[in-house]
Symmetry: C2
Subunit: 342 residues, 2 copies
């Protein structure tokens, strides 16, 4: 049967001061009236029933996510520690396999904004079908719309059928010139949307992933804490997909955004005629290409451009949009009592 | 005897959202821990005793000023309406004359920041002495430090003594090129610091100021409301000083600032090494030449320059410093419920 795994870990500070440890990015209504985590569950409707949706997350936000998403309690898998996507997806796939030895797993992230949901669902169905037909680990590659340097790229290889191709190689975060070359060569963004038969993933891990393989027996015995204690953190891409010859890629033609920083908001929100994005009581006056968010007091932005202005959780942040990706370095220099939010 | 008149009218919105109708600029601690109105009273110490300091203000802020400045109740003159400086100074001078026919009046404003208080007091004493010796209306001209286009200039004429000169002409707000010429010609800024015998001012008004003269009898009869109802608003400069041949100017060498806008704060406040001014919990990170004020939440300014960021009275304002002088046009376009403050 079909299962879904939603990865909802990661605290993150890239939406400070809106994001907090207890309410990180995936719980925020960044792209609309509901959180991206709610949207992630919503987009599985008709594809995977709720009782077969597994959520992998951390202890800090598990209660909030459980309340928000109303998933069966036993479907919320709380990681003993954050250890990248490899152990998380292996554990969740193992869990699906334990409950259903024929489990076909679709894996996605809780912080995505996807504009074309029908296209997403169609792609997900193709990925699941490809995984079953070709007996491969399937990754969905998004057709790039810009030479983004923050993503990984997949260079497709031999064609397997009308939709699927083998993978020639993965390339992590290229520089701008390389990104342009990759686009020209038909490379795809590595989306993090995967499909596989759980049994195949476990078999591939046993073969290619020494960081995890020796400890799979602990999962067999239900010792999740022991498993996470012993494994070495590794991403599913590096630990499995890049090492396995049995990987396929199918193209995804939906618009996909992981809304990585404040600067990304204008990509996923409605802009006014001057390119500004406002959430909450914000008043623009001759402002251009600004991002403004207030959870309380009205903000007036006059005569400025390319700024991020946020009032949230008792803090006010003003920075150029170009600095959004480096927000962490700003926060690192703030006094703890200003930086740390409840 | 010596009297002082402090003009403390004017609501003003140029320090929105910090200034409010009940707490305008002169009641704000713009340049230090106390308000400029308190500083105005303080700088008269040793020059004019408190019981002979008259304050002219509006009904809205009179209670707050009375509480703050602890002046005798009968010394707080509440204008029935704002009608520029002419009627205010005529009324106050008339009031001083009524109580003391030999009154010598020093007139100043409640919103000044003066760096060199001893120099101010010395200049004020010279102005009062000049008014008595030469039987003239005396204005203090500040030696300009920049070709400011927002001020009026005084071009001095014949020398009367070592300190005083007659006035050749007044020039209102020149353009930048003219301001440079005026500076080169030895013109002085019209400061609004005046001295005169009350009796002489009233005599000159009778002779030169048809906007006010016909209604002086109402003041004689104590009908202040009637006086303000009938006069035509006019500034003391236009209505009297520019028309009278009996005017003298004495130079003021103190640093004087009327802190007209948010942009002026760095002139009267301590700046950090990057030219930033902060009041309240403000954190700069690679910010330059910014003005930031918070009465509550911490503000973080990162990677920006030449910005004004204010959080006060439940509003947040972000604008370039260059826009500070046009703040009114920004406020005019705001919804009333955002603009209007209690």
């Amino acid at each position: 049967m079909r299962w879904a795994v939603i990865l909802a870990g990661g605290s993150g500070t890239r939406f400070w001061p809106l994001s907090t440890p207890a309410r990180p990015k995936q719980l925020l209504p960044l792209a609309g009236p509901t959180s991206t985590a709610e949207q992630a569950v919503g987009r599985l409707e008709g594809l995977v029933p709720r009782e077969r949706i597994l959520l992998v997350t951390g202890a800090g936000i598990a209660p909030a996510l459980r309340d928000l998403l109303r998933l069966p309690a036993e479907n919320v898998l709380v990681e003993p520690r954050a250890a990248s996507t490899g152990p998380a997806l292996v554990w969740a796939s193992h869990e699906a396999w334990r409950r259903d030895p024929d489990a076909e797993v679709l894996s996605l992230h809780a912080d995505w904004v996807i504009r074309d949901e029908p296209a997403f669902r169609q792609t997900a169905a193709v990925a699941l079908a490809t995984a079953a037909t070709h007996h491969r680990l399937v990754t969905v590659g998004i057709v790039p719309t810009r030479p983004e340097t923050g993503y990984g790229y997949i260079v497709p290889g031999d064609r397997l059928d009308r939709e699927a191709q083998a993978v020639r190689r993965f390339t992590e975060k290229p520089d701008a010139a390389t990104a342009l070359d990759l686009m020209a060569d038909g490379a795809l963004w590595n989306s993090g949307l995967f499909a596989w038969r759980a049994e195949l993933l476990l078999e591939q891990v046993r073969r290619h992933t020494p960081e995890i393989a020796p400890h799979l027996g602990l999962l067999d015995r239900g010792d999740v804490a022991g498993f996470f204690q012993r494994i070495t953190p590794v991403s599913i891409d590096v630990g499995v997909l890049e090492r396995s010859p049995d990987v396929a890629v199918v193209p995804g033609r939906f618009t996909w955004d992981d809304v990585g920083t404040w600067d990304a908001l204008p990509r996923v929100r409605i802009r006014d005629g001057q390119g500004n994005v406002a959430v909450g009581p914000v008043h623009f006056h001759d402002a251009q290409d600004c991002v403004a968010w207030s959870d309380a007091e009205p903000i007036v932005l006059a005569g400025v451009r390319d700024l991020v202005v946020v009032r949230a959780n008792g803090r006010i942040l003003v920075m150029p949009r170009t600095l959004a990706a480096d927000l962490k370095s700003v926060l690192d220099r703030l006094p703890r009592e200003v930086r740390d939010l409840q």
